[in-house]
Symmetry: C2
Subunit: 283 residues, 2 copies
């Protein structure tokens, strides 16, 4: 094994200190106090508050502040990750690693495989942890504990760089699943993006008169629809092909339920419900 990542005394930069970026900082503090954490973002006042709260050591609005970093985690919305990674890459030393926390990987990973400065490497990541809340005030040092982080190397990714990025997420308590960016996007369309669309479509039906009749089932089923519309619009658009294909599959399944219900086909309806329960119970 190479030395642990992050090394004692090394600098980690986090671009985008929101819920995810802030929770990375909090987890590093708890598990790896001897690193220096540079927080980079657009809103200087918010970053200074995070610094005063002890979450980050340095608050900066310029990518130059990350110059010393051995590893940079880009935690901005998916439609800003490529640009933010390029901006910061110009300031880094050879040997530096960049990873991200984006929920869609295909375009990000293909664009960041080329035209980075010599010696700077990007390895895509997607920590499967989050919340419908936003902002570093909701940071949680245990957010990643026991959760899966998908790491999506390109065929050209050096094994050493891949290993160091994986070790970084392991340090935060995560379990690594490695897959290609394209596999990741097809899978997450089904496990995350299409469920968001379905939850939003259900939540939209809730008129004022119906509200007091929404019990725990409705609340659970629609909880993720409370997520930030700006972030989610970017995610859905970045994974448009897999998401539209997934919507089609779910709508076909709903149409099968509709047919069984309309025709009074009790055995057919039972089979549809049985499959759903069996798969859900395997979780």
């Amino acid at each position: 094994m190479t030395s642990s990542v992050p090394e004692q005394g090394s600098t980690i930069a986090i671009v985008g200190v929101g819920l995810i970026g802030g929770s990375i900082a909090a987890a590093l503090r708890r598990r790896h106090a001897a690193v220096r954490i540079v927080g980079i973002g657009r809103n200087a006042a918010r970053l200074e508050q995070a610094q005063q709260a002890g979450l980050i050591d340095v608050a900066a609005t310029s990518p130059a502040a990350a110059g010393d970093a051995a590893l940079v985690a880009i935690c901005t919305p998916v439609d800003r990750i490529v640009e933010d990674a390029r901006d910061i890459a110009r300031c880094l030393r050879p040997g530096a690693l960049i990873t991200d926390a984006g929920s869609v990987k295909g375009r990000i990973c293909s664009e960041l495989q080329h035209d980075l400065p010599e010696g700077v490497t990007f390895v895509g990541s997607h920590p499967l942890a989050g919340s419908e809340k936003n902002g570093w005030e909701h940071s949680d040092a245990e957010l990643f504990e026991g959760r899966v982080c998908v790491v999506t190397p390109a065929s050209s990714t050096q094994p050493d760089a891949l290993q160091r990025v994986e070790e970084f997420w392991r340090t935060l308590g995560m379990r690594i699943v490695r897959m290609s960016p394209e596999e990741h996007d097809r899978a997450l369309a089904i496990t995350s993006h299409v469920p968001h669309v379905a939850a939003a479509a259900l939540a939209a039906q809730l008129t004022d008169a119906l509200r007091e009749l929404a019990a725990t089932g409705f609340r659970d089923t629609t909880r993720i629809a409370a997520g930030d519309p700006e972030l989610w619009a970017a995610i859905l658009l970045a994974n448009a092909d897999s998401v539209t294909a997934g919507i089609d599959r779910v709508m076909e399944q709903m149409a099968a339920f509709r047919t069984a219900i309309e025709s009074g086909d009790e055995p057919g309806l039972r089979r549809l419900l049985d499959v759903a329960r069996e798969r859900r119970n395997q979780l």
Copy 2:
């Protein structure tokens, strides 16, 4: 006010001692120890276990055991409620009340408005409380605390009978919402039955390879799909008209998402997500 319901020393019969029936018994025990609870069901061995566990005072497979009851709560699946209510009504004394806990009310309430023995009254109820678990072992004396019970009188229902049934649910900690059986069924299609279909359609997509990529969002969104297929098939079929209409509305909304995603319409997608979040956040 009339005397409290149930009166001290009176008998309450529960037909179907599963999660809901058992929780009614447990809540009566905790809040109203001085009533005698008769549990009636098909499975004598299971009922005797519930009796030995102290949940019910009398375990019986014959409706005759409910002869003394001032109030009977029918907690069997929706497709058995009418028959079970008729069977037990024949054994009751004049003045006795029957209510139920069925998730669909239209047919049940219309059938039980006539041909009951003189002096026996049915008032439909739907306590909005439950779980994807089954069986009296999961009984919870606090299941109803603070939750809504929809009570669905017919135009012919006597005010005194209605008031006594509402008082019964209030005794268990519930808040009453009164509406017609038809209004109830249209509303619950949207807040409960169609979400079940959507959750099941999503859960059905979860192949083995995808399982480890299903995080809390997927888990929450599909939790209700773990419900009993037999019970849910009966509910969906009993409310077929409103459920199919509701499926159509949700599928239209999903199709609107699909169009916005496919055409890259970011403002349109944001508007759809905004509406969903706003309505969800009002819960």
